[in-house]
Symmetry: C2
Subunit: 333 residues, 2 copies
C-alpha cells in the first residue's frame, strides 16, 4: 500500500505530484487550479486574496525567529506576492499536552510583535490540545486575507526578455533551522531571513506597472520556485551563478553539509519577474528597503529551453537546474 | 512550571481562561475580543466573516462522518451562525510520515463531497508531512470566509423573554466518536450529527428579522454554549429539562458512561436566540429542513439569575448548569 513520505511535504516534485494526482483531481475548481500562493476570490465585487499555511518547524526557536513569527510572516508573504495588502490573519494552534505555558506565552508574544511589524491583525483563532506524544510540541496554522491592489499578477504574463530579480541572499532560513536542530555550530551563526515582505513589495508595485509575477522561494528554495514559473513550457529561465547572492556563512555550511543553496528554503525573500524596461526602477525601490538591500537581477526569461531553468555557471558551463526531487530538509517551516 | 493540559483545549472554563489571560492580552483587538465564531471584518466596505478551526479528532473515521467532512462542516457552521453565506475554505493538512495514501484519498474525497453538499469551494491549501511519531495520523485545519447577509447578530442584542431554540437532539457526535475510539458497542449505533447548517440557518434568517444570536454547541456542549451567552451577566437563561431532545441511544450511552448530554459536543446543531414573537415562524422554517426536524424551544432568556444558566428539572427542581470545567472528552473534533 502506498504511503505518504516526508518528501510529499517537501515543496518539490513529489509534492506537486500529490497535489495534481489527488487534491486537484478531487477538489479542483478554477481558483484552486491556478495554484497561486493565495487564492484570488471575489466577494461582492471586491477582489480578495486568501491563503493558508501550517507550520511544523523543528526546533520551534531558531536564530532569527521562531514558529510564531514565521507563521505570521509566511502568511503575510503569501498574500503580498499576489499583489494583496495583508489585512487579517487567523491563528490555529495544536499543542501537545504538557507543553510549557511559558513557552506558549513566548510564542504568542512573538506572534503579537510579528503581527504589529507586518501591520496585520489576528482576528480569529482556535486552540486544540492533544495527548502527550500525539504531536511534537506545537503546530501553528495561519490563514490570511488581504485586499488585492495590484491585480493580474500571473505566470501567464511572463514574457521572454523579462528580468528575474531576487530580493536578497539565499538559504539563511534553512541553515539557521538546521544548525539549531542538529546542534551544529559554525564560526558565524546564520540567522533566518524570516521577515514580512509586504512593505518591500508595496514599494516595488508603486514604481512599476510592469511586474508580471512574484513568488517567495520557501520550501524547495529558489530552484523550485523558478521551476514552478517555467512549468507549462512556453519559455525558459536562465540564471547566472555568479549573480546568486549567498553569504559566506551559508556558503561554508553548504560546503560542509553538501547542500546546494538554490534548494534551501527562504522565508523573507521574493523573486520578481518584471518587464526589463522597469528593472532599474524596481531595483532602486527594493534597495531602498532594509529587506531588499542586496536585491539583484539573477537571470532572464528566455525563448531557449522552454520549460527549463538553466544556469550559466561561474566556470563558464551551462547546466539544467531541476525542481527539488526529494526531501532535502523536513520540517523547515 | 505551568503546563498546558488537555482541558485547555476542551472548550470549557480552562480554555476560556487561557484565551483571556494570554491570547486576548497579547493579541487583543476590537474584532478578536468579540469572541464570535467568526471574525467580522470589513474589506472595501464589504462585511466578511473569517474563521479557523483545527481538527484532531480520534478516530479519523467514525459512524456518521470522518475528519474530512467534519473539518468542512465545522468551518461552514462557524460562518453560518454569524449570519454569513459560507463561500470559500482553505485546507491545511499535517500528515504523519507513513500514513496510507488510500486513507488520505478517502479523506480528500470526503472533503470534496462535503464541500459540494455545503456549496463551498476549497480554494487554497497546504500540505506538511512530519516524521513518524511527530503527529497522530492526520490533523486538518480549515479556515473559511463568507459574505455577511444578516448583520448585527450579537450576544449584546439578547433580551429577557427571548426564546432559546435548539435545532435537534444533542450528544450524537461525541458518543459516536467515543464509542468508536473505545471500541464500545451499544445496541444501537449512534451516528454523528455532523452536518452543514448553512441552508437551515438561511431559511430561519429569511423568515425572521428577530434573530438575536446563534451558536453551534460544539466542544463543551449545549451547556457551555448557553453559558457563553449569559457571560457578562445582564440576563440568565432558563431551560426545561423535559424539553431537551436526546435520543434513546445517547441517553443509554450516557447512563452507562456517566456523561451528561448537555456537555457533549454536537457538530450539526445550532442554538438560536430570537424574539419570542418570531418563535413559531422560526420553528416552522427549521422543521421544514431535514436537519431541523426535531427543532424545539428549550428555554427562555430571563431577568432572574443574571449570568447563569439554570434548568427546571423533570422532577420539579431547579439547578444551575455551569460551563464545562474539565476535559470530558479530548480530541472529539
Amino acid at each position: 500500500m502506498e504511503k505518504i513520505l516526508l518528501s510529499h511535504g517537501s515543496g518539490g516534485t513529489m509534492m506537486h505530484k500529490l497535489i495534481d494526482s489527488l487534491f486537484m483531481r478531487e477538489l479542483g475548481n478554477p481558483t484552486l487550479i491556478e495554484k497561486k500562493d493565495s487564492a484570488i476570490v471575489e466577494i461582492g465585487g471586491k477582489k480578495i486574496a486568501f491563503t493558508t499555511d501550517s507550520y511544523v518547524v523543528n526546533p520551534i526557536f531558531f536564530p532569527g525567529g521562531d514558529i510564531g513569527s514565521l507563521a505570521v510572516y509566511g502568511t503575510v508573504n503569501d498574500l503580498a506576492v499576489c499583489g494583496a495588502k495583508p489585512l487579517f490573519i487567523s491563528l490555529g494552534l495544536i499543542i501537545e499536552e504538557g507543553f510549557d505555558r511559558d513557552l506558549l506565552e513566548k510564542i504568542v508574544k512573538s506572534i503579537s510583535s510579528a503581527a504589529k511589524r507586518a501591520r496585520v491583525d489576528v482576528v480569529t483563532g482556535d486552540t486544540k490540545v492533544v495527548e502527550r506524544g500525539s504531536c511534537d510540541k506545537i503546530f501553528i496554522n495561519t490563514s490570511g486575507i488581504g485586499a488585492i491592489y495590484y491585480p493580474g499578477l500571473s505566470i501567464e504574463n511572463i514574457k521572454p526578455r523579462d528580468s528575474v530579480i531576487l530580493s536578497g541572499t539565499i538559504g539563511e532560513h534553512a541553515i539557521s533551522v538546521l544548525s539549531k536542530r542538529e546542534g551544529i555550530s559554525f564560526s558565524t551563526i546564520v540567522r533566518s531571513d524570516s521577515a514580512p515582505l509586504n512593505a518591500l513589495i508595496a514599494k516595488v508595485l508603486s514604481v512599476s506597472k510592469g511586474v508580471r509575477f512574484m513568488r517567495d522561494p520557501t520550501r524547495g528554495g529558489a530552484a523550485t520556485t523558478l521551476n514552478e514559473m517555467v512549468t507549462g513550457g512556453r519559455f525558459g529561465i536562465s540564471i547566472e551563478e555568479e549573480d546568486l547572492p549567498v553569504t559566506e556563512g551559508v556558503r561554508a555550511s553548504c560546503e560542509l553539509l553538501g547542500f546546494d543553496p538554490l534548494y534551501l528554503a527562504n522565508e523573507g525573500r521574493v523573486i520578481i519577474v518584471a518587464k526589463r524596461d522597469d528593472e532599474k526602477r524596481i531595483l532602486r525601490a527594493m534597495r531602498s528597503d532594509p529587506l531588499g538591500r542586496s536585491s539583484r537581477v539573477i537571470g532572464t526569461v528566455t525563448k531557449e529551453y522552454p520549460g527549463k531553468v538553466y544556469m550559466n555557471t561561474s566556470s563558464g558551463g551551462r547546466r539544467i537546474v531541476g525542481m527539488l526531487s526529494s526531501e532535502q530538509l523536513p520540517r523547515i517551516c
